[in-house]
């Protein structure tokens, strides 16, 4: 039986349809804002200005974007093996702990250019270790990865609490935070970096970790689509039976993929701990691990899509914060609701508009075809 759904050109599938979904999400958000008696147009203006109005705001937007790229890639890599890694939050948290421990241990003794590669390796290693246990349990014991990764988020929170309160806390203060790192363990901010070229911008949390994020995108793209390991991951993700048939060791593949996913999530630690806070503290991931799920979903698990989706969510985070600051009646929860609507329309309802667009498209193509025939005849 022929299937009634048909292929649309790629530019409609990955370009027009997501755009329409986002516009639909904004439209519904606008209605919500109207209901609470505020002006939606004004709200959009504030969001856009809040995210891109000046170099300071852009810095914040891109800083959030960096986090989302890491966690989005983490979710996407796992998803290519059809593993749903909900544990990005915990892996990022533990990755940050690793970075912190390394910086606290070494910042007095060695220079930055030794600390940086070690820190990157440590953040990845700690993130991977945190993903390894759920992965092992899934591959060899059959525990469901969704359940175990969620649980490992909670274990990560508790572990961090314990370590900060009992071990790393700087004596003589109330808040559970470590001492500040010395300059040798601080990632150069973007302000410093462009300063080397004589360009002046305001100081913001944006730092050179964004280069690591972009490099990670390139790496993931090459790894997933241009290596035999990525080939095996995708085959396993599409069709586990085919992977078995091909002689792929699926257990090792599950563990390996999850560890890579953990590495990418762990890099959030570089951006936040080395790049922004310069000390170990509570809750520095701030939900980026969960947002990564939405980012990967919107970005269709492709690095380019993930960059675009991360930018969108970075905009919503930064612009949304400004919005609730400028218009107090639109509270932080309302901003979250708008983000939720974007996820709803782009993720859960991603195919809602497709049949209509399909019909429109075929109508246009058929009409054009008919017209051509007429002119020819």
């Amino acid at each position: 039986m022929s299937s009634p759904s048909k292929a649309l050109p790629a530019w409609i599938d990955v370009g027009v349809i997501p755009l329409i979904n986002i516009l639909l999400a904004f439209f519904v958000s606008g209605i919500v804002i109207l209901i609470i008696g505020e002006d939606p147009i004004e709200a959009v203006k504030i969001i856009i200005y809040g995210a891109f109005g000046n170099d300071y705001n852009i810095g914040y937007t891109l800083h959030y974007t960096t986090n989302f790229i890491f966690t989005g890639l983490a979710v996407a890599v796992a998803f290519h093996a059809s593993l749903f890694n909900i544990g990005g939050e915990g892996q990022a948290y533990i990755g940050g702990l690793g970075v912190g421990l390394l910086c606290l241990a070494l910042d007095q003794y060695v220079p930055f250019w030794i600390i940086l590669p070690l820190a990157i390796a440590t953040s990845g290693l700690f993130g991977a270790a945190w993903a390894y246990i759920p992965a092992y349990l899934q591959a060899y014991r059959g525990s469901h990865i969704v359940i175990t990764t969620i649980m490992f988020n909670f274990i990560a929170f508790s572990l961090m609490n314990y370590i900060l309160v009992n071990v790393l806390i700087e004596p003589g203060q109330m808040s559970p935070e470590s001492r500040d790192f010395l300059a040798s363990a601080q990632m150069p901010t973007m302000q410093e970096a462009v300063g080397w070229f004589g360009i002046e911008i305001q100081k913001s949390p944006l730092n050179l970790s964004i280069l690591l994020a972009l490099f990670s995108c390139l790496f993931v793209w090459l790894f997933i689509w241009h290596t035999r390991w990525g080939y095996a991951i995708r085959m396993f993700g599409f069709n586990e039976n085919a992977a078995n048939y091909s002689g792929i060791n699926t257990r090792r593949l599950v563990v390996g993929t999850m560890c890579l996913s953990g590495v990418l999530a762990g890099f959030v630690g570089i951006n936040e701990i080395m790049g922004n806070h310069n000390r170990v503290m509570l809750d520095f991931v701030a939900g980026a691990g969960f947002t990564g799920i939405a980012v990967a979903l919107m970005g269709r698990n492709h690095p380019v899509g993930i960059i675009i989706a991360s930018l969108l969510f970075g905009t919503l985070y930064q612009g949304g914060a400004e919005l609730s600051f400028e218009i107090p009646t639109i509270q932080g929860e309302m901003v979250k609701a708008i983000q939720g609507l974007v996820i709803l329309f782009c993720g859960a309802l991603a195919y809602m508009a497709r049949p209509t667009i399909e019909r429109l498209f075929t109508a246009i193509v058929v009409n054009n075809g008919a017209r051509k025939e007429q002119t020819n005849g």
Binding site: M1, S2, S3, P4, K6, L222, H226, T227, R228, Y231, A232, R234, M235, F238, N239, N241, A242, N244, Y245, S246, G247, I248, N249, T362
Partner: protein, 549 residues
């Protein structure tokens, strides 16, 4: 040769065909100029069809010829873009299957639409309960069901659990379901795909009775001998159009095949006698249990160079597990497999990759489930199992150009169309997908080739091509194991035939001496009651009696 035998036996087994009634009668169904497009694909173009009451009308055509679309339009799954449907001479609009049922059309799907955990009666009533409370309506339904069973000689126990019934009886329930809803026109979509030859004969007897009671039947099939055995008239579809209509008595299999494909087709496999050489694969005492169910029960077999061994059997009798065990997908639980000088035992297991390295090729039974990844493009599917081969890899990155060249060459050598390595595997037709999978496995010239359902869902033109290639490979000295539910295919390809039933090999027949009846009896394990039980050893015989008791 053996095919001719089926043909010769067909009509006897079914009973005499009634002559088609004179055409003055109003047709039970008339389709006029039906067209249906899915985007650019024209599934049906100006299709006309006339089915006379009380006749069996066959519709035959290759996969994708538009048979199923046409029937879906008639049964209300799709609406035609244009055209007219007349039922008993009156124009009707059919928007849903509910409409179709109310006009007296019933459909028996290829995959049964039955709730396995319901009784027969509950299944028959489902959707036609008649009242919110079941007590009373089930009483009337029971009476009605018994009446129908008697009238059409369709004996079935109304209180039996549907899932426990053999496939042939489940199909009977489907037919009763349609009749219960007042069907006077019955559509059967590939009804014999899951049946043994004996069950097929039973079905044809039932269809004959239905016909004599005035039911009009549309039989969709791709099996030519069924058309010849049971239908009164036959319509041939090709590429969305109705290419011709014939009186069955005035046509032949060769003519129909030619009409279907649009060119001359060689139906018989042309092969010389086998010349078996050394043993290439020797499996001893394989048993396999899964979830407490014995799937393979002490199976031993040898494959020799230069022979094709066929495994006959109704699907689900251990063939799948046998292929999985012989290709390394299922780890051995007991027994051993010798491949050349290497022995595989439960203590010395090998994975499918290592089996490949021992020169065992495997074309899985279900290409979508295992043999390919539909979301991959063709060139990615073309290296499955060999993706770590240095030929396709640089130090780190994959050499996509080499992969593409490899795929292009396979496509040329094995006539895979369209010849586009970048096209998504799902977008090839069934025959071309199968050719791609076969090409991947055969191109390596494996010493042992395991082939499951070589031509499932493949059109006639491609079947001919695939059979020819398998024979050529045999003649080049490979040992080939073919598992197929198509008895005709097993008989025409194999030099030796093994019959599987409930995980055991219950008989072995030389390909030359094979006879559909005898194989059918073995497949249904009726061998214990028949003369052909000499083929079974005593051990097996007692075993099967225990099970059938």
């Amino acid at each position: 040769m053996s095919v001719e035998r089926i043909k010769a036996q067909g009509p006897d087994a079914v009973g005499g065909q009634s002559a088609p009634p004179p055409s003055i009668e109003l047709p039970a169904i008339e389709l006029k100029a039906i067209s249906k497009s899915f985007g650019p694909v024209k599934a049906n173009q100006n299709v006309d069809l006339k089915v006379l009451p009380g006749t069996i009308h066959g519709i035959i055509g290759e996969n994708g010829a538009g048979k199923s679309t046409l029937m879906s339009i008639l049964y209300g799954f799709y609406e035609a873009d244009s055209g007219e449907i007349l039922i008993n001479g009156q124009t009707k609009k059919i928007h849903s299957s509910r409409d179709a049922i109310s006009f007296g059309i019933g459909m028996v799907h290829q995959h049964f639409m039955l709730v396995e955990t319901f009784t027969v009666l509950e299944n028959v009533m489902l959707g036609a309960e008649g009242a919110p409370l079941l007590n009373k309506s089930s009483q009337t339904a029971r009476e009605e069901l018994l009446k129908l069973s008697k009238e059409y000689s369709l004996a079935v126990d109304p209180d039996a659990m549907t899932g426990d019934l053999p496939v042939g009886l489940q199909q009977r329930v489907e037919i009763l379901k349609a009749l219960y809803r007042g069907a006077e026109i019955l559509i059967l979509d590939e009804p014999t795909g899951v049946l043994t030859p004996q069950e097929t004969d039973q079905l044809f007897k039932i269809l004959d009775i239905l016909r004599s009671r005035g039911v009009s039947i549309i039989l969709i099939t791709h099996k030519l001998q069924e058309i010849m055995a049971i239908t009164d008239r036959v319509s041939v579809m090709r590429a969305g159009t109705m290419v011709s209509e014939r009186e069955t008595s005035a046509t032949s299999k060769n003519e129909l095949a030619e009409l279907m494909v649009g060119r001359k087709v060689l139906l018989e496999v042309d092969k010389t006698d086998a010349n078996p050489g050394e043993i290439l694969l020797d499996a001893k005492n394989l048993s396999y249990r899964e979830d407490g169910i014995t799937k393979l029960d002490d199976v031993s077999l040898t494959l020799r160079a230069g022979e094709i061994v066929g495994i006959a059997g109704v699907s689900g009798n251990g063939q799948t597990e046998l292929l999985a065990a012989l290709s390394g997908i299922c780890p051995l639980q007991t027994g051993s497999i010798d491949i050349g000088s290497v022995q595989i035992t439960p203590h010395a297991l090998k994975n499918p990759k290592e089996f490949r390295e021992l020169s065992v090729g495997h074309v899985p039974e279900d290409r979508h489930r295992m043999g390919m990844v539909t979301a991959f493009n063709a060139q990615e599917t073309a290296i499955m199992g060999f993706h770590e081969d240095p030929a396709y890899n640089g130090k780190i990155l994959m050499d996509n150009k080499a992969v593409q060249e490899h795929c292009t060459r396979l496509m040329q050598d094995y006539d895979v169309r369209p010849e586009d390595p970048k096209l998504k595997s799902a977008n090839f037709s069934g025959g071309n997908q199968q050719k791609l999978v076969l090409a991947r496995e055969m191109d390596r010239r494996p010493e042992v080739l395991l082939v499951g359902q070589p031509t499932r869902g493949v059109d006639i033109g491609a079947i001919e091509f695939i059979h020819k290639n398998l024979i050529a490979m045999r003649d080049a000295g490979s040992a080939i194991l073919v598992v197929s539910v198509e008895l005709e295919e097993i008989m025409s390809l194999s030099d030796r035939i093994l019959v599987m039933f409930e995980g055991r090999i219950v008989g072995e027949v030389a390909g030359k001496d094979a006879d559909a009846r005898q194989l059918g009896l073995l497949m249904g394990n009726a061998g214990t009651q028949s003369k052909s039980s000499e083929q079974q050893n005593n051990n097996n015989t007692t075993h099967s009696e225990e099970i059938s008791a």
